[in-house]
């Protein structure tokens, strides 16, 4: 095939706008990790099943391993690096810590971003809804129980405006 042109992709990631010039085939997860140095978003399966690479695109969770970066040109992306405000952890991070909602930490960034979407779109989320919601993401360590507890606790704090 003829040589492939690179494309400019402009992304606003965690509030900061950058333009990268990449091959169209470059996956969003690789642009985040390699071009923008945001290695908090991890690679798990590269076929859209495990959810390890989950980020938010304009507030909606997506798989960054099955998304070409060119497909999100002009979009706002949020990753795990955008959750904490300096020293202060986001309520989800804080509750994951408190409830031990993580063990190896590898699925955690994707799980946090998915949880972020769940609590932001449903402030009154129930434990059952959290379980069904996070079923999109595989955690091999925790068995999900303490993650569910953490998300519910964070939702209560966020609704009370007590981050």
């Amino acid at each position: 095939m003829s040589p492939v042109d690179k494309h400019d992709v402009t992304l606003t990631v965690n509030g900061r706008t950058s333009t990268v010039t990449v091959e169209p085939r470059k996956l969003l997860v690789d642009v985040l990790r390699e071009d923008l140095g945001l290695t908090g978003t991890h690679i798990g399966c590269e076929h859209g099943v495990c959810g390890t690479c989950t980020v938010l695109r304009d507030g909606a969770s997506i798989r960054s391993c099955t998304t070409f970066a060119v497909q999100v040109d002009g979009c706002e992306i949020r990753t795990v690096e955008g959750l904490a405000k300096g020293a202060e952890l986001h309520p989800l991070q804080d509750e994951f810590w408190d409830k031990q909602g993580l063990q190896c930490g590898y699925c955690t960034p994707g799980m946090l971003m998915r949880a972020c979407e769940i609590v932001e779109t449903n402030p009154d989320v129930t434990a059952a809804e959290v379980r069904e919601g996070i079923a999109s993401n595989i955690c091999r360590c925790t068995g999900y129980q303490f993650i569910t507890e953490a998300v519910c606790a964070a939702a209560v704090r966020m609704k009370a405006g007590n981050p």
Binding site: M1, S2, V4, D5, H7, E23, P24, R25, L27, D30, E46, H47, G48, G51, T54, R57, A60, S61, I62, R63, C65, T66, T67, F68, V70, Q71, D73, R114, E117, E132, G133, A135, S136
Partner: protein, 287 residues
Amino acid sequence: MKPPPFHYAAPTSVAEAVALLGEHADEEARVLAGGQSLVPLMNFRLAQPGHLIDLRRVEELTRIGTDGDTLVIGAMVRQSHAEHAPEVAVGAPLLAEALGYVAHPPIRNSGTVGGSIAHADPSAELPAVVLALDAELVVAGPQGDRTIPAAEFFRGPFSTAIEPGEILTEVRIPRRDGGQAFVEFARTHGNFALVGVATVIELDGDTVTRVSIALSGVAGTPVRATAAEQALVGTVPDDASIRAAAAADDLSPAGDVHGGTETRTDIARSYLRRGIELALQRAQDRR
């Protein structure tokens, strides 16, 4: 697991997209919708298109509307958008319910209604839904638009009536009364279903006046359970007749690692019964 190289274009109109598809026909040009089926295939290098025509900027394909009693969904409407759209809740509750079974929300946030239908995975939910609802699929091509009934649309596994150079643009779903239900059996939540059942039952009093049932996962395309439909129409169903209807069709799903033909048939009949029961219950509740 990285995808092979390809050329990329993101046109802003259907006409432009059709033109690009024609222009790059000899480079295995393909349409990119949400990418939730195509990108994994490319990561596995099972699909290696030379040129991708991304429809994300074609705004005319992202609308949901109505045309009289017909629900009109643009092919690029995201599945999560359609799932929660009031027009869909009213015009095709079966579709809204089925969308809740399509993988997981992060997939539905990218995946599109048209993408799933055009991909024509035999185990997918939306092809069975459009078949049950007698929907029409509108495609645009170099010779203009044409409309294909769902019954003529699915040709085989991952194969449809869309000709090379054409693009699926719209799904037109006639409004149906009665009870609608989508049920499916997957081994784990959100995984590919072994069988899905899309059912619409209309009643006059207690008598079934019209019934449509489509199954996914039991053949190379979604299929109508015509024998079950015939067994039910004109009757007042009871437990025994529903069981008999659910066993009426000859099914012979191909076996795979998740179930042999016998087990898949057992599960299909069981879910056929559950789908009929649920749709009937809903039809009765609506009276």
